[in-house]
């Protein structure tokens, strides 16, 4: 009886239309003719006295051929079961038959549903487990994984008490791609872990019968019954939640917000990024990152972003582990990473784990998808300026896959709209291409190969060409030594170059080039020694090779003196180890140490400058030459990392984080916004590494069953030896850069509030940040002092920052998004007086960054219309309409003064000065 009730409840819950047939008219079973299923049911009801429950639509359309007549109904249904995926449950006491299609009603609750398993501490008779398994597996369908019981580890006669480790991959059933950040846990005792970037999990649980529960965003929750004999591997495929019935959507991260020890980490899924209003038709990772608290930018046409008061070069941007030196296309209007191939973006703002190093402010880890391992698919889109196409599919089914992404401008849409004919004759364009190959060599070895290339070019008045490129290649080999230990070995190459060709006059035609190469090898180990600990350790070595500038004649008539700056070489090596462990149910701790070691390598000429004088060409007293590979200067130091989570109750916690970072490569820029011609410079005898310390404190609380997350995080950051520049310095082709560089100190502090609703028709977040970012430059000489050596606001000091990101789904096919941003205007240097010189009045500037441009306010809207949701359509299309800057406010990007025609004119420049509508068509197949 209990079983029946449960079945009925299940049927109601699943909302399956059920037709109940009562006894009715006399019905004679026609001999030798094919019956429809409805007729068969009717016959059984009328003649055999069953009460029948079945899905009517299904039954109407079928005429099963069976050699057996429904008189012998059990045989009849056994024959057609396989063909039509039809199941029944017979309750003989109630004379009731319930038919189901495609799934089977289970009449027993899973083992241990009401009573927690007590197998932890006693050994269990294997035979009884076996028996239970056999009993459970009666009538279980072949691909009903939830009903089956899996045996893990070599089978033993008796089951020892204690724990064993279980590890494996969680993959998407349709594409074979890893599911990252999925929560894998057992409920009794409550032990869980999350999958890493490879979809790999490993943890220790009590031996014996367990139910693994798996949850992830956008995936159906699934369970696996297992018998864990000893350490073993167990891979699970999760299904995408395409048309979920009335089920609760569970977010993978719902608990990590409060429970995880990590703080200062923001994750954006590519779905979130794509929901945001698109500027000029491109979903944009960096523009999305800017909506997070603590992340700011100088303006709408600025390359890069600023995290918690740090400069742009203090962010390590990793694309599949390879550093990306220029993340912008078209000088900051677009990001150079194609969002279609991205799986996940993580931004570490504080509490940075020990495996990351090399930049002092943040780490942005962009993980790419692996490509579909099951079938060939693709997607693409067409916007006003760009077109995209991505293809993916298996090379060997379930074993190897490829992913190709291509994006390119196809029109000079912007240039066509220019008033100046000179510019109409110019061209501007960019493209980027990604390729990724993933191989599962065997169950313990996987191999990943990545390639990336981006190209930006501008031709100006057909006499000069500006061009910049990013290149990346990386090979990663993941090897599982045992359930408790795996390693990833990576070889990474990354390059950034830019080039300017000019033919304006034959005598002065030139070719200017810059190049930075980054060669890296590293090994990262993850060790799961026993429950509650996760230890990461590894070693990394980066060889930098810079050609900081070459200036060459172009053409036979050019008089340009060929000039090349000396190459720069440096080796950055680091060792790290970190342990994430749970001290108790309520307290978890991460401690890590990274020790980094930097060598400036020859060939190098190191100049000695006279003591007591400002560095200058004229104060050089000595030159030391270092041969190839000879060490000219070394720097090294420990980098401490710590995070502590103290749970207050089930839904709130306090976290404390500290990290120290060292940075040996610096971007040299004296512009207010970062430009693509800014150069990277290695630490050397005169340019010390930047060292940053950050301490942060946060309070986290979830409401409404973890659907609403709130947090408050405060931070204080100190930055030593940040680079600033003497006034008027020319940084391109500068042989003695150290003479124009000043070491400064930076500090930043702030407090970030955030409320986020992850699920539901209306989702999004609201954040407010109050923060300051200040710099102090007080050198020994007048030219090395800025603003009298007092603290002054950095270029990106915007104290108030308010962001609202919201998405609303009207129907399954139609949704709208709105982003609203308010921030204080950035600091600028403003003139304080006018004087006449050389025939014109001119402005005189005083203190740097003493004034501000007007506040920034922008609202972006977008509407997304999906095609219909038939799963088996050959191609799916969707339309996206966006309206950038819907308020039409001409937000000031810069304010400047120009002496022209004998007068001073003041101007404000706005980038998106009025509402800009765009339409994009996206498709996938």
């Amino acid at each position: 009886m209990k079983g029946f009730l449960i079945q009925v409840i299940v049927l109601i819950l699943l909302n399956i239309p059920v037709k109940v047939c009562y006894s009715g008219n006399e019905f004679v079973l026609p001999a030798d003719s094919v019956l429809t299923l409805t007729e068969a049911f009717k016959y059984m009801g009328d003649h055999l006295g069953w009460k029948l429950f079945y899905p009517p639509v299904f039954a109407d359309s079928l005429s099963p051929e069976s050699s057996v007549r429904p008189d012998d109904w059990q045989n009849y249904f056994q024959q057609i079961q396989q063909k039509y995926d039809l199941y029944y449950y017979a309750d003989t006491t109630l004379n009731m038959l319930i038919f189901t299609h495609a799934y089977q009603l289970r009449t027993r609750l899973p083992f241990g549903f009401f009573e927690p398993s007590t197998i932890q501490d006693e050994s269990i008779d294997i035979a009884s487990l076996e028996l239970e398994k056999q009993m459970d597996e009666v009538d279980i369908k072949k691909d009903d994984f939830e009903g089956r019981i899996f045996e893990i580890g070599p089978k033993t006669q008796t089951l020892r008490a204690g724990r064993a480790s279980i590890a494996g991959y969680i993959r998407d059933k349709d594409s074979g791609e890893p599911v990252i950040g999925a929560l894998v846990y057992i409920e009794e005792p409550r032990i869980g872990t999350t999958t890493d970037q490879f979809g790999y999990y490993s943890f220790s649980i009590p031996r014996g019968r367990n139910t693994l529960i798996l949850q992830s965003v956008g995936m159906k929750e699934t369970r696996r019954q297992i018998i864990l004999y000893s350490n073993g591997q167990f891979n699970v495929e999760m299904e995408e939640a395409i048309v979920p019935l009335k089920e609760v959507i569970i977010e993978a991260d719902r608990e990590t917000h409060v429970r995880g020890v990590q703080m200062g980490l923001d994750k954006l899924s590519v779905q979130t990024i794509k929901q945001m209003p698109l500027a000029l038709g491109e979903a944009d990772i960096i523009k999305s990152i800017l909506t997070l608290p603590g992340v700011q930018t100088v303006g709408e046409a600025a390359t890069g972003f600023n995290v918690r008061g740090g400069s742009v070069d203090q962010n390590l941007i990793l694309v599949s582990e390879a550093p990306l030196f220029n993340p912008a296309h078209l000088f900051g209007v677009f990001s150079s990473v194609n969002p279609d191939i991205v799986r996940n973006v993580e931004l570490y703002k504080g509490g940075i784990p020990a495996q990351y190093g090399g930049r002092i402010s943040s780490v942005m880890d962009i993980q790419l998808r692996d490509g579909n391992k099951k079938k060939f698919t693709g997607n693409g889109g067409i916007g006003p300026i760009t077109g995209r196409l991505n293809l993916e599919g298996p090379i060997v089914e379930d074993k190897a896959s490829f992913l190709l992404g291509l994006r390119s401008t196809y029109s000079d849409w912007i240039l066509q709209r220019l008033p100046e004919a000179d510019f109409r004759n110019s061209s501007a364009g960019f493209m980027d291409a990604n390729a990724r190959l993933s191989f599962d060599l065997n169950e313990n070895n996987s191999l990943f190969i990545n390639g990336y290339f981006s190209d930006d070019r501008f031709r100006l008045r057909s006499d000069s060409l500006f061009n910049y490129n990013n290149y990346q290649t990386s090979v990663q080999w993941k090897h599982i030594f045992s359930n408790k230990l795996y390693a990833v070995f990576s070889g990474i190459f990354s390059r950034y170059t830019y080039n300017i060709e000019s033919d304006a006059a034959p005598e002065t035609a030139f070719d200017l080039g810059y190049r930075i190469d980054n060669h890296q090898i590293k090994a990262d180990f993850s060790y799961f020694p026993s429950s509650g600990h996760k230890i990461d350790f590894g070693v990394s070595s980066i060889l930098y090779d810079l050609r900081p500038g070459s200036f060459l004649p172009r053409g036979e008539n050019s008089l340009v003196q060929p000039r090349s700056l000396n190459m720069e070489k440096g080796l950055e090596t680091a060792l790290y180890a970190g342990d994430r462990f749970e001290i108790s149910d309520m307290v978890s701790l991460y401690v890590g140490l990274r020790y980094s070691f930097y060598q400036q390598l020859g060939p190098a000429n190191v100049y000695t400058y006279a003591d007591g004088a400002t560095r200058d060409q004229s104060t050089i007293t000595d030159t030391t030459r270092y041969g190839n590979w000879q060490t000219a200067q070394t720097y090294h130091g420990p980098e401490y990392r710590m995070s502590l989570n103290i749970g207050l109750d089930a839904s709130s916690s306090i976290k404390i984080g500290y990290n120290k970072m060292r940075q040996y490569i610096h971007m040299v820029s004296n512009t207010q916004a970062i430009s693509p011609t800014d150069i990277w410079k290695l630490s050397d005898t005169h340019i010390r590494p930047q060292v940053g310390d950050q301490i942060s404190l946060g309070w986290y609380r979830n409401y409404r069953f973890n659907t609403i997350e709130t947090s408050v995080e405060a931070f204080y950051k100190n930055m030593n030896d940040v680079l600033d520049f003497k006034n008027g310095a020319v940084l391109v082709m500068n042989e003695l850069l150290e003479t124009d560089v000043i070491n400064g100190r930076g500090k930043a502090y702030g407090i970030e509030w955030m409320i986020r609703k992850r699920a539901g028709k209306l989702n999004g977040w609201l954040s407010y940040t109050y923060s300051r970012s200040l710099i102090r430059v007080a050198g020994a000489f007048a030219s090395e002092i800025i603003n009298r050596g007092e603290w002054f606001p950095s270029n990106f000091d915007k104290p108030h920052d308010f962001t609202l990101v919201s998405n609303y789904k009207f129907t399954r096919r139609f949704g709208a998004s709105g982003n609203f941003t308010y921030s204080t205007g950035r600091p600028i240097t403003y003139p304080l007086a006018i004087y006449d010189f050389a025939g014109s009045p001119r402005v005189h500037f005083s203190d740097r960054n003493a004034f501000r441009i007007p506040d920034y306010i922008r609202l972006d809207l977008s509407f997304n219309l999906e095609g219909n949701h038939k799963v088996d359509k050959p191609a799916h299309g969707s339309w996206s309409f966006s309206l950038i800057n819907a308020l039409g406010r001409a937000n000031v990007y810069s304010m400047f003064f120009v002496t022209e025609g004998g007068r001073i004119n003041g101007y404000t420049m706005s980038i998106f000065a009025r509402p800009i509508p765009t339409i994009t068509y996206n498709f996938r197949f």
Partner: protein
């Protein structure tokens, strides 16, 4: 090269013009910095050299600098012989060309004493370098779009070539002085004086407006294997002005600067003329080579320089160039007015008599169509060919 980059960035800024916009605004004055400004140079020409001393003014102050009067200004040559300058007009001090002339190779220091403030200002020593002659001064036709105009503007680029075979010059600066001839649209032989029409005594149909360069013109051969400057653009003269309607001449002065002086002028150009790109460098306080002896931290604006001069004159005649339509010509329409109405017509319409239509009835037209002195003096300069 830096300039090239700037072009590129301006291009990007303009590339975004469809979305982007540039609004001019009236700067408001924040905390005012009242500073001493010194501008002037010693040349090797047989003429008096000017040193202008003034104070800076607030941002919204339209007038010229506040002149600093009664200063004691001296120039010391090679640390020995001094020469006192005299104030010819408020804040403007000149050398006596009869007794003082700059000399190539000599070193000069400017001394300023302000009796009111009891302060001495002294320049860093400046040495006069030899300036090579201007090799070539020429013009080329160019059509370009300016602003958001529908039709292109037509005009002429003026270019300069120079070189120093010895390779000592490297840093160049140019200034120019231009003069052009304009004709009144109506040639006037009558004038209206004391309610009477009479023959005109002064010819007002041909005038010679002049103008000076207002932008800093700098060039360097530092990156080149030879000390050569090619196709240095000095100006663009287009058909929106009357410069090319009759005849035009430009006198170019070339100076060779010291590296320090070049650097000062380049930075000044950078922060006052080349702003407005997407990637503007951080502007900053720029001080020149004058120091206050009593207070070394006092900032003094401007620069004292000493240069030798090479001059060259360029002529562009009407026959050399396209026949430009004179701007504003359609505005020049004549009215016929009886003698009794002439006075009132002149008063109400700012017009001028230029001829007799029939006895007692006179031809009048807007003043700018009759009197070319609206544009410049009607005195033919002595260098006019």
């Amino acid at each position: 090269m830096v300039k090239k980059l700037i072009y590129i960035f301006q291009f990007v800024a303009l590339a975004l013009v469809n979305m982007a916009c540039l609004d001019s605004f009236l700067p408001e004055s924040k905390d005012f910095d009242d500073l001493l400004v010194v501008e002037g140079k010693i040349t090797d020409l047989p003429e008096s050299n000017l040193i202008r001393i003034s104070r800076s003014r607030p941002l919204n102050e339209p007038a010229a600098d506040f002149p600093v009067q009664n200063a004691v200004v001296r120039i010391v040559e090679d640390g020995t012989s001094g020469h006192q300058l005299s104030e010819v007009s408020p804040g403007l001090y000149t050398t006596n060309s009869d007794v003082f002339k700059g000399r190539v190779g000599a070193e000069y220091v400017l001394h300023i004493f302000l009796p009111e403030k009891q302060k001495n200002y002294i320049s860093k020593p400046v040495r006069i370098r030899q300036t090579p002659p201007i090799e070539n001064l020429y013009f080329e036709f160019k059509e370009q779009f300016v602003g958001g105009a529908e039709a292109p503007v037509q005009g002429y680029d003026i270019f300069l070539d120079t070189s120093d075979p010895l390779g000592n010059s490297k840093f160049y600066r140019w200034e120019y002085h231009e003069t052009w001839m304009v004709n009144a649209f109506f040639n006037s032989y009558l004038e209206f004086v004391d309610n009477e029409i009479r023959s005109r005594t002064v010819d007002i149909s041909v005038c010679y407006p002049t103008s000076r360069s207002t932008q800093l013109l700098l060039g360097t051969s530092l990156n080149l294997s030879e000390d050569k400057i090619r196709r240095q653009r000095l100006a663009y003269i287009d058909n929106r002005t009357r410069r090319l309607s009759m005849a035009y001449t430009m006198l170019v002065r070339q100076y060779v600067l010291s590296p320090e002086s070049y650097e000062y002028h380049r930075q000044l150009q950078q922060i006052t003329e080349n702003m407005g790109t997407l990637f503007d460098p951080q502007p900053f306080e720029l001080v020149g080579n004058m120091v206050c002896e009593e207070d070394p931290d006092e900032r003094v604006l401007g620069y004292f320089d000493a240069v030798s001069v090479a001059e060259k004159r360029l002529w562009i005649r009407r026959s050399d160039v396209l026949d430009f339509r004179i701007p504003g010509a359609s505005f020049c329409q004549a009215d016929t007015v009886p003698l009794s109405g002439v006075g009132e017509h002149i008063r109400l319409n700012f017009s001028e008599v230029f001829g007799e239509f029939m006895p007692g009835i006179y031809l009048l037209a807007p003043r700018s169509c009759v009197d070319c002195r609206n544009f410049g003096p009607a005195i033919r300069p002595d260098y006019w060919e």
